[in-house]
Every structure is written in structure tokens, then in C-alpha cells.
Symmetry: C2
Subunit: 222 residues, 2 copies
DNA sequence: GGTGTATCGAGAAAAAAGTATCGATACCGT
DNA sequence: ACGGTATCGATACTTTTTTCTCGATACACC
């Protein structure tokens, strides 16, 4: 296998879906609900009930027939199972358009992520303060960062070089937004966040759908 | 099956990888290379050669034993197979931090995407010009948009309502960055671009790795 | 030209992911 | 209290995806 399918004993596909259940559950909780069934959640997330239950099967929880799952228990079990119950610190490198957007993103608090430092090399960036975080020069990045994770939003051309520097500084996980594939020692965990993939799937689906429509029409009027 | 695994006859997982092959191939071309083997590409993208070849098998191309694939043919075949060879127009709704970043993103030209209109409701946004696109009020969005695709970057609370409005205006594909699940008529194609998923996978992998390290150490010194 | 070898590509096998079935359980209304 | 029913969850099954095997092919070098 090229790269592991599982995290611990949980399939990655399940982890991905769990990440989408969580905000939905929190929202329900906010609305005063305390119990949810797999079918409820499935409807809300455009999934099948079976899949939701199967996913929950990987967590240490049990639902109750006829009622469903206690939302509180679900949330706790997820946070426990995936270790999201503590805040992790991260640094961000590349404070351009995207980097700035991420630094301003309020949602991270919800995901237990705290960006505690930002770096760039452009003279007009270094020294500015974005959402309470001062942008430092990349050369000032010492060997003892207060984070294990780095968010990489530099220009694609610098991606590999900067990533290597991050590894030297002790970073063990890189969230890579640059679209470039990083080649690093395999103990470093790389998560590619390539929006081109999403775009490709969407436009491929759109053209496929358009093609179907045309074919359907031409068989209708021969 | 809840939602199709395939686009036309090509598996979605393959489409996703094809999207990552393309920039790598273009980069090679720029560097003057004209031929590449599946093993070459695999190394460059942290994949297995077999997988690359299997993916190529879905396109109408043939490689040559002992040499590999002609890069030009590969690129053409991908663009043909996935209909990326024409520019598609899109509108963007929600010109906040993320929307602004996307409007400024130069990479879309490469992916055949052109954002030809932007909408918001905030008085201080409407009327401004971002990267050559004037921000219009959402109420000005008529029924005859010059685009089939919409990029949705409004605040999560407005996501569902705005999405419904988009559908009424004739949008058939929504690239949804809000993290909220949109419930829309099923003929509308929705592509969720939820960065929380990527973050969840990364942090789960990091904690799993950390746990492994601790266990390894404790077995070392009993 | 012959031999060695890197690479492709078809088909089979293995692994993973998703889906269906069905008995068990707990709630609801009578 | 009792029958009806919604829901869970274990197991079995199906589909999809990934990986392996191996013969065929074309280039390179002698
Ligand atoms: N803007 C988007 O919406 C978007 C979307 C998808 C992907 N991306 C990717 O995200 C990355 C950033 O995009 P962007 O639009 O913010 O670009 P940008 O040009 O606005 O920002 C890049 C930033 O990186 C900094 N930088 C460049 N080289 C550096 C180095 N060696 N060390 C430190 N900092 C360095 C620059 O000074 C700049 O501030 C790019 O790789 C891009 O492909 C952006
Ligand atoms: N900033 C990020 O890095 C980031 C990351 C991941 C996801 N997101 C998601 O992307 C979306 C936008 O994030 P952001 O940081 O740009 O937020 P933001 O608050 O900066 O921007 C939201 C924009 O949407 C506009 N808007 C709100 N309601 C609207 C409506 N009904 N019609 C039209 N426009 C409306 C607002 O005026 C504002 O300009 C959010 O859903 C957020 O969860 C953002």
C-alpha cells in the first residue's frame, strides 16, 4: 500500500465524514436537541443512514433502538476517538491572499486549531499584524517553534524550499495549500489541500451532466 | 449507492489524481521534457507507478514500453477526457476574506475557470472592484447569468438561503466553501470544499503518530 | 542483428469501502 | 401490559478501488 488507509483503526473515509458530522451535531445541540438518529443525520448530510451508523461503529458509543444517539455522547466520543479534544498550535507561512484569509478565519477555534505565529519574506508583509498575529521574517524562524503543525500558503515556486526549512525547524505536519507536491522525509505528515481537485471533479461532473442532457434530448427527437 | 462513484466511465478517485498530474506534466513540459514514464510521475507525486498507469488507462492514450508517455499526448488526452479544454464561466458569491482570495487567485486561468461576476450584500463591499470584477448586490442577480457554476463563499449562516437563490437563477453547479451541507434539488451538482476535513485528517494522523511514538518508547524502556 | 532490460497494459487477485438483511431492543400509544 | 414500530448493530454481501503478476514490446548497447 502506497499510503495508509487507516488512522489508528479508523478508515480515513470515516474520519472525513466524522469531521462533517461534528458541526452538524453542534448546531443541533445549539438548537436544544439532545438526541439524533442515524437517519436524521444522514438526511441532513446527504448520506445513507447505514453509513452513518457504520461510522459511529468505530467510536465507542452505543445508540438506543427507537430513539437514536445522545448528541453529547456522540460529540464526546468523536473528540475522544480522534483526539480533537485539545487545542493544537500551528504556524502559518505565506501571508498572501490565502494566508491572510486563513489567519482571519474564525472557524479554527471550533476545530481546536490555534495559529500562534506567521511568517513571510516580503518586506511589506513582515511587521504587519493580521488578526492579532505579527508577521515575522522567515529567517527569524528558530529551531524551537511552539507548534508541530505548519500551514503552507506560500507561492507554489517556493513551496518545496520552504517546506524543507519547516522540517528542519521541527515541524512534523504540513497542511499544504500550494498545489505542489512536497517531497519530504516520510516521517513528516503532509496533508494536501488542493482546491484544483475539487474544481476538477465539479467541472467534470458538470460536463458529464451536460453531455447526458444532450444525448437524452437527441434520443427524444430522432 | 448514495452518490455516483463515477463520472462518465472514469472513477472519481482517478479524476482527482488526474487533476494533480496535470500541473506536474505542465511543469515538466516547461522544463523542456517531452516524455515521462509512469514511475517518474509516481515518484514526483508520492504514488505508485501502477496506479498512474491504471489511471492513464481510462484515457485514450497508449504509452510505449521502455520509454513511457509523450507528455503532450497525455495533457491533450486528459483535457479531452475531462472536458477541461474549454473555459467555463463562474460567478462568486460572498466577497469576504476567502472570496477575495479566490478572486485574486491567478491559478484558475490554468484550470479553465473564469469568474465573471461577484456578489455580496454588505454595503461596504458592493461597488468595490476586486481584481477587475465589480462586486454587485445579490439582489441584482438576474435570472440570466452568464455562468453555470457558482462559487459559494458567504458566511455559513447564509449558505443555504443563498444557494437556493442561486438555483433559482439557473446555476447548476455549486462549489461550496462554507462547510455547511446544502440541501438542494438533486439535479444541482454540489461540490463541497470543506477544509475542516483536511484539518481533521491531518490532526488525527499527527496524534496517531504521536501516540505510536510514545508507545514505541515505553516498550523500549520497560 | 542479437541480447538485455525498462516499461507498458491486460487480467486476476486482494483490499477496502459501501450497502443490504435481519434479529434484537426499547419506546409509544392504546 | 401489550402489540406495533422505529431504530440499532452484527453479519453477510456487493461494488469499487488498489495492487500484483506476467507476457509483450521497443529501445539500447554491444
Ligand atoms: N488565493 C487563492 O484563493 C488560492 C487558492 C488555491 C491555492 N492557492 C495557493 O496558495 C498559495 C498562496 O496563494 P496566494 O493567492 O495567497 O498568493 P500570494 O502571492 O498572495 O501570497 C503568497 C505569499 O507567500 C509569500 N512568499 C513567497 N515566497 C516565500 C518564501 N520563500 N518564504 C515565505 N513567504 C513567501 C509572499 O510574500 C506572499 O505573501 C499559492 O501556492 C497558491 O497556489 C491560493
Ligand atoms: N477565511 C477562511 O480562510 C475560510 C476557510 C474555510 C472556510 N471558510 C468559509 O468560507 C466562508 C467565507 O469565509 P470568510 O472568512 O471569507 O468570511 P467573511 O465574513 O470574511 O466573508 C463573508 C462574506 O459573505 C457576505 N455575505 C454574508 N451573507 C451574505 C448573503 N446573504 N448574500 C451575499 N453575501 C453575503 C458578507 O458580506 C461577507 O463579505 C464562510 O462560510 C467560512 O466558513 C473560510
Amino acid at each position: 500500500m502506497a499510503y495508509g488507509y487507516k488512522i489508528g483503526s479508523i478508515p480515513i473515509t470515516t474520519v472525513q465524514r466524522l469531521a462533517t458530522y461534528l458541526p452538524a451535531l453542534r448546531e443541533m445541540q445549539r438548537q436544544g436537541r439532545s438526541i439524533v438518529s442515524s437517519a436524521n443525520l444522514a438526511d441532513m448530510l446527504r448520506l445513507e443512514a447505514i453509513q452513518v451508523r457504520k461510522d459511529f461503529g468505530y467510536l465507542e458509543i452505543t445508540g438506543r433502538p427507537k430513539t437514536g444517539f445522545k448528541i453529547v455522547e456522540l460529540i464526546e466520543a468523536m473528540e475522544r476517538g480522534l483526539s480533537w479534544n485539545r487545542v493544537s498550535d500551528a504556524i502559518l507561512v505565506g501571508t498572501g491572499h490565502l494566508g491572510t484569509a486563513l489567519l482571519n478565519y474564525r472557524g479554527f477555534g471550533y476545530h481546536g486549531l490555534n495559529i500562534n505565529a506567521a511568517f513571510d519574506i516580503a518586506p511589506d508583509r513582515v511587521g504587519t499584524v493580521i488578526n492579532g498575529v505579527e508577521v515575522q521574517h522567515l529567517d527569524a524562524m528558530g529551531g524551537s517553534l511552539d507548534a508541530a503543525m505548519a500551514i503552507l500558503t506560500v507561492s507554489p515556486e517556493s513551496a518545496q524550499a520552504v517546506a524543507e526549512k519547516l522540517v528542519q525547524a521541527g515541524i512534523t505536519g504540513i497542511w499544504n495549500f500550494t498545489g505542489r507536491t512536497l517531497l519530504l522525509p516520510e516521517q513528516v505528515i503532509i496533508q494536501d489541500q488542493d482546491i484544483a481537485i475539487g474544481l476538477a471533479v465539479l467541472s467534470a461532473k458538470l460536463t458529464a451532466r451536460a453531455r447526458e442532457a444532450i444525448e437524452a434530448e437527441s434520443t427524444l427527437r430522432p
